[in-house]
């Protein structure tokens, strides 16, 4: 049974159809990557799954329950959490306060404190800067904060939207190795990336999106070696 099952999902912005019937599955424990050019509808898909964007047809099932009409609040509390594109940390709130916003719906004080400790262990820089305004962090630090904030919600499935965007190559490597660690610690991951090479390297399964549709799918290693993907997304062989 798939953890997340998206079936024939449609999203419209006015007259524009951003998703034209997308189907995708994420099995528990996997890293699934979603690659594709700008405007292919990757972010729309994640926003629709999280309940931020209105869906206009299809079905989304998370752990056997339909979340097609469920509020973002209930989606988060059921364990489906998103790290949005462009980090979107809260300026004006300290690093610590940002992390606590991730635990907004949780009531288990002790568990929250334990998770906070774990996050400080995983991202020591966040502990060092815990009282600093989040907007003063560098891009890489903000990405770590956005990921730490999402982890504070105790996700079963983490949606990551372009975590490597705008980061220096060395940081990109670090972020990807963190994603791998998070997955190994038991969190399933759906990753949207422009950096197709890295995204295919760490994923178990992958989808390629083109203008609102899934154009290709398959085990990540197979896609990485397919000629079509190499030419279109990996800059030739």
């Amino acid at each position: 049974m798939a953890m997340l099952d998206v079936k024939d999902l449609h999203v419209h912005y006015g007259a524009i159809e951003a998703l034209k019937g997308v189907s995708l599955k994420v099995e528990p424990g996997q890293i699934v990557s979603l690659i594709g050019a700008n405007g292919a509808g990757k972010t729309s898909l994640l926003q629709a799954i999280s309940g931020i964007v209105k869906k206009s047809g299809g079905e989304v099932v998370f752990e056997d329950d339909s979340i097609y009409k469920v509020s973002p609040r209930k989606i988060v509390s059921s364990g489906l959490v998103q790290v949005p594109e462009g980090r979107h940390v809260f300026p004006g709130l300290s690093v610590y306060e940002n992390l606590m916003m991730g635990a907004y719906l949780r009531k288990d004080k002790q568990g929250i404190n334990e998770d906070l400790k774990k996050i400080y262990e995983r991202f020591p820089i966040l502990e060092k800067r815990k009282n600093q305004d989040a907007s003063t962090l560098s891009g890489g630090e903000q990405q770590m904060l956005a990921m730490g904030r999402a982890l504070m919600a105790k996700p079963k499935l983490l949606l990551l939207d372009e975590p490597s965007m705008g980061l220096a190559p060395i940081l990109v490597k670090e972020i990807f190795s963190i994603i791998k660690d998070i997955n190994e610690a038991g969190t399933t991951i759906l990753l949207v990336e422009q950096n197709a090479r890295m995204a295919l390297q760490i994923a178990d399964y992958a989808y390629v999106m083109e203008t609102g549709n899934v154009a290709l799918e398959g085990p990540a290693s197979e896609l990485a070696s397919s000629k079509a993907v190499q030419e279109a997304y990996l800059g030739g062989a």
Partner: protein, 292 residues
């Protein structure tokens, strides 16, 4: 000099009231980017509520203050739910015009039921005053300072230290990201309206006692002045509203005392014009970049 100090005290008490009202403007703007022009009328309802509960139910000052805050808080929530929530995705100007409409509805509904006559209060506070050297502080002034101080401290604690306060700041910083954390944006906005309107309710009873009168249109001019105070402090900024309120109150009192009381309104609007020319973001405001 002695008179100056005395006028300063008078100005601070008037300014405290402006600060309480300005806080509501600034909080609402901070979270939904709306200048709630009906806010001055919520303060008027506070003054009328005080008149009702003290005249007909014989409440003393403190219980009356609490009732006014709760009534106005709920009124604020109601206004937001009915008038502004359906327009949340509409252009800003639509909501702004609606706010002006709401203001008229409240003013003339009150006038319809209460008439235009001036209502006065039973004596609520002892007619006492203390003299320190050249300065005399009346009991009422003391109450105004203390109530304002306590409410500002409470508000700051709520916003800085509580979960719902943190959620308010998160929603005001980034609404969509707040949704992704599972924060209910609607409830957070309602809570913001409740807090801001409750403060206006407190200002309503204080000013009602200060001038010993309540009239249906009493909210218009002080509402505008409190708005100027919020802009002066930097709209969206909580400390800005506090400082702005005190500053406007002091300016107005000093102009009345030393200049010409004919110009006491002119000076406030003059300040607005100067702020908009010299520093549109206000004292503590951050210049907002237009998003493309």
């Amino acid at each position: 000099m002695d008179q100056f100090l005395q006028q300063l005290v008078n100005g601070l008490s008037l300014g405290s009231i402006y600060a309480l009202v300005a806080l509501g403007y600034t909080m609402v703007y901070g979270i939904i980017k709306l200048i709630n022009f009906a806010h001055g009328d919520v303060y008027m309802i506070g003054a009328y509520t005080a008149y009702w509960v003290t005249t007909y139910f014989g409440l003393s000052f403190l219980p009356a203050l609490l009732v006014c805050m709760v009534v106005c808080g709920l009124l604020g929530v109601l206004i937001e739910r009915i008038a502004y929530k359906p327009l949340r995705k509409a252009p800003r100007i639509t909501a702004l015009i609606t706010a002006i409409g709401v203001s008229y509805v409240i003013e003339y509904t009150t006038q319809f039921f209460m008439g235009t006559s001036v209502r006065t209060y039973p004596p609520l506070l002892p007619n006492q005053s203390w003299t320190f050297g050249p300065i005399t502080i009346t009991y009422l002034q003391f109450v105004i300072f203390s109530v304002t101080l306590v409410l500002c401290v409470l508000l700051t604690l709520i916003i800085q230290k509580t979960k719902i306060g943190r959620a308010m700041r998160a929603v005001s910083a980034d609404e969509n990201a707040a949704k992704l954390m599972g924060i209910s944006v609607d409830n957070t906005i309602s809570f913001t309206f409740f807090l801001g309107s409750a403060l206006a309710g407190a200002a309503g009873i204080l000013v009602g006692i200060y001038y010993n009168s309540a009239t249906p249109l009493m909210g218009m001019v002080p509402g505008l002045k409190a708005f100027v105070a919020a802009v002066f402090g930097g709209i969206g900024s909580i400390p800005g509203a506090m400082v702005g309120g005190l500053f406007i109150g002091i300016c107005e009192t000093l102009v009345t005392a030393y200049g010409n009381s004919m110009y006491r309104d002119a000076i406030v609007y003059g300040i607005l014009i100067l702020v908009l020319i010299i520093r549109p973001a206000g004292l503590f405001g951050k210049a907002e970049k237009e998003k493309v």
